[in-house]
Symmetry: D2
Subunit: 290 residues, 4 copies
């Protein structure tokens, strides 16, 4: 099976590599072309524009960093729209808002193409391990044809109905994650500043009803002020913003998510946007003595 692949950031690179390893023919494109080199070493082909990838492949997957990149790859010169046509399938696995997904869907289907949105839950490690959760919506036939690829990329694929629902589900999940991370960060800092051991807190949490892989995975490094970026804080904050905007549309008041979002914004203003989102603990921890 031949797959086009647009976007080789942290996630895209891990995902396209997985496809290669599982015997897919993969043709990649990235804005900075040099990022394609490692993939080529593992057998990928390269194209110089998104349009060329679409032309070459019947199914193309895109993993871009944000809504404006997702739109740009489709609508700009040499973009997806120039070559999309009847029969071709385009699967956007970027995390974007539903509005962006709907715009892309309209453009693709307007040219006769088929569209699935398929944002994923999971960051660098699950991407590398093929353990993502895929939140797909849109053209059901394309979804079903793509299952062999999805099975390589993730441990489970959900089909959620109409385009937009994948984006929305992803935002809801990431909003819960962002608020949980703040809850955790506040707890670790409170323990520490109250004369308790933040490492013992990790042990206590791990034994109780709240134990979860995120706390176990990130807690020890947070206690050491280390934040290697699995999921950059600025992207987490963007997702909080988009989830709050979804709440705004539907008149859902979410004061805890709103407070968490402001904490991530404070962290951005402290220059932590490119670190892992667990670095929000620095915004909680920050004080004059530090």
């Amino acid at each position: 099976m031949e797959i086009g692949f647009l976007g080789l950031g942290i996630m895209g690179k891990a995902m396209s590599m997985n496809l290669l390893k599982h015997g897919f023919k993969v043709t990649v494109w990235n804005r900075t072309l040099s990022k394609c080199d490692e993939l080529v070493e593992h057998g990928a082909s390269v194209c110089e524009t998104p349009a060329q990838v679409i032309k070459k492949c019947n199914i193309t997957i895109a993993v871009l960093s944000d809504p404006s990149a997702a739109l740009s790859v489709v609508f700009d010169k040499d973009g997806v729209l120039e070559q999309i046509c009847e029969g071709k399938g385009y699967i956007d696995m970027s995390t974007v808002d539903a509005e962006t997904s709907l715009k892309i869907n309209q453009a693709i289907t307007g040219k006769g193409g088929r569209f699935v949105e398929g944002p994923v839950s999971g960051s660098k490690k699950p991407a590398e391990d093929g353990q993502l959760i895929i939140l797909a919506a849109g053209d059901k036939a394309l979804f079903e044809e793509s299952i062999p690829a999805f099975d390589v990329l993730g441990k489970k694929s959900f089909y959620l109905g109409e385009v937009g629902n994948g984006a929305k589900m992803k935002l809801v999940v990431n909003m819960v994650m962002g608020s949980m991370m703040n809850a955790f960060a506040e707890g670790l800092v409170l323990a520490d500043k109250s004369g308790l051991s933040a490492d013992t807190l990790l042990d206590v949490l791990d034994l109780g009803a709240m134990t979860n892989p995120m706390f176990k995975g990130k807690g020890p490094s947070m206690n050491k002020s280390s934040y290697p970026p699995a999921f950059p804080l600025k992207h987490q904050q963007k997702d909080m913003r988009l989830a709050l905007a979804l709440g705004d549309e539907n008149a859902v008041s979410m004061p805890v998510a709103a407070a968490a979002n402001e904490a991530f914004k404070k962290a951005r203003s402290l220059g932590l946007g490119d670190l892992d989102f667990s670095a929000v603990i620095e915004a909680v921890r920050f004080s004059k003595e530090d």
Copy 2:
């Protein structure tokens, strides 16, 4: 081993029953004495006052509902202080603030008694199953003598140093829990109001890095608006308040916990205080259409 036991609420009853089942001799007292009947059927003795329990037993455990009850059992007429003396040990496993613990410690040790505070993490089910986490602090010898009882009541006992640290650790844990519950509740409501399935959200969360027993255990019933009280909302809110007060003492700003606390207060004002703390979702969900 003979153990006195003061307080037979949801937690106290399950814990004293466990001691009985594991062959401890248990002498119980409860403000409403009729609540002792079931324990008596299983072999417990009863005393009519806390003082009598202390007189009879070398080690007495108390599990009261809040700081004022914890103080009252010690300081009021017929209370613990009247009979505590050299050699006797008093273990308060109520969830109280550190100040309350310190007051009790001072009074007990002032009479020659030994004191351990040992608040627990875990609610009704872990209490019944002997799977609590015990956060002990204070007299180390008493802690060590009590390990046979602790081993029946919990799956792990931490010794955290000076009196107050158990109370503080418990508050930190419960604060994280209260914020997490709000994060979860906001996510479930946002999914539902955005046209997604809140049950599918549970499946998605369960597959990801945030999966945890609390979400798995409470999510399905929250989606059915059912809140059988394992941990009453008003007690959760009290713990949020006390944790925020601990943050106040140590100048730790915790905007997410503060927002969660206000949500629990709103839930109380909606008459949900006696339901399980997961009922906070009703405060998020509440709208005119409902």
Copy 3:
């Protein structure tokens, strides 16, 4: 001086009426044309499309309800763009985000037209009394030519530089207003539920350093649960959202505004969106006993 006027909502009607009363020739348009009748009785002319108004008048003022209405009047069929041309001036006094203003500016100036954004601070009463504060930015010559009209509509006009700055200043002002209103509402409810007189609180506030016309004007009716819409709650909430988005762009963390925004969203979910924004007190007040 002849002025075109697009949009006859609460604000637009009061403003165009003022221009008429001060001797301006005014040509009006409104989506629901029947709303023009009262203006016609006072001497206004009517056109059937925005394009016709632009064609007829050298300077046209628009006061629309939100960004999408502001864009639609310019870009849709029969819209402003069809007739705007060199020499003609277009002044958008709607409250919109800077991005919307910039889009309109680009389109107008692209056709040779001149553009001033001029959002106002003040609601129904100041609009009727010609006591608005005008936050203008953009084409300086057009601003200066328009001063006779601005002097009728407002008590003070600021020229703030490049297009976008008027929108931004307006959002900042309304954000402060929305947070203040929540501070006030929480105070009134806390007084009442604590057994104090909320009317006495008004007297106390009125004597102190916080005394301001908004508290004096709205407090008594808020205490009577009366909310005649001077500035609809849903518009206030929209402005909070846009101001928070401006903060997002500039990495400014604003937890108090974020909490206020969520309170306005809760009020919307309670069906209060069309009442005055002071109705947010109902979201604070709401409890089971009510």
Copy 4:
């Protein structure tokens, strides 16, 4: 008329000086006795303990910094209780919680004394100018006898009924103030970081419905990062905390006040507690570039 006066902090000093200037005989006491010197130069007498002041004067006013100081002056050795007796009046004008007021009331009246709580609204400047607002409650006869003194200290005295209501009203007022200050601070920072002039924002606010002496008085210095302490931030934060506790008792959810309180706590952690409460803007402003 002879008046005892306990506590010569910022407020107490200005108030006792006013009494002296208006012909009252004043006997002062302060924990650090040297602070009495300036009053003595203006004609005051000094006692070495609170008890001596009570013994000497029929009416004694206290202005202490917080609940623990207010309690200590009454209950400690050489305190008020040792000399209070039938006929003597004690007026506590400190800002304390209702519980503290009630405790003092019970002790004073238990010895036959009369008690009025009379917290004030207004800080250094109004205290110096005799322009405070007095929120009195308790013994009505004592209130009426004290009116000559109250008329010197304040521009208006409210009698609010039973002891505790003065404390509560004060907390409500200060809570509104603390939230308003945060609303203002966020607005000033947002203006500045968005490329607008924060000074122009002051002009715009001053012309609108939100204009108030606090914004006018503190805005210009906040824009210059100058915070001479009229009302120390740590005291403002304490009042927010106590007001939130009052809300807790009465199940009033106040998310905006809670967010403001956390901002003040962050400011405390940044070492700003002794500056004016307007210094909370530094917590909003703080970013890595600063």
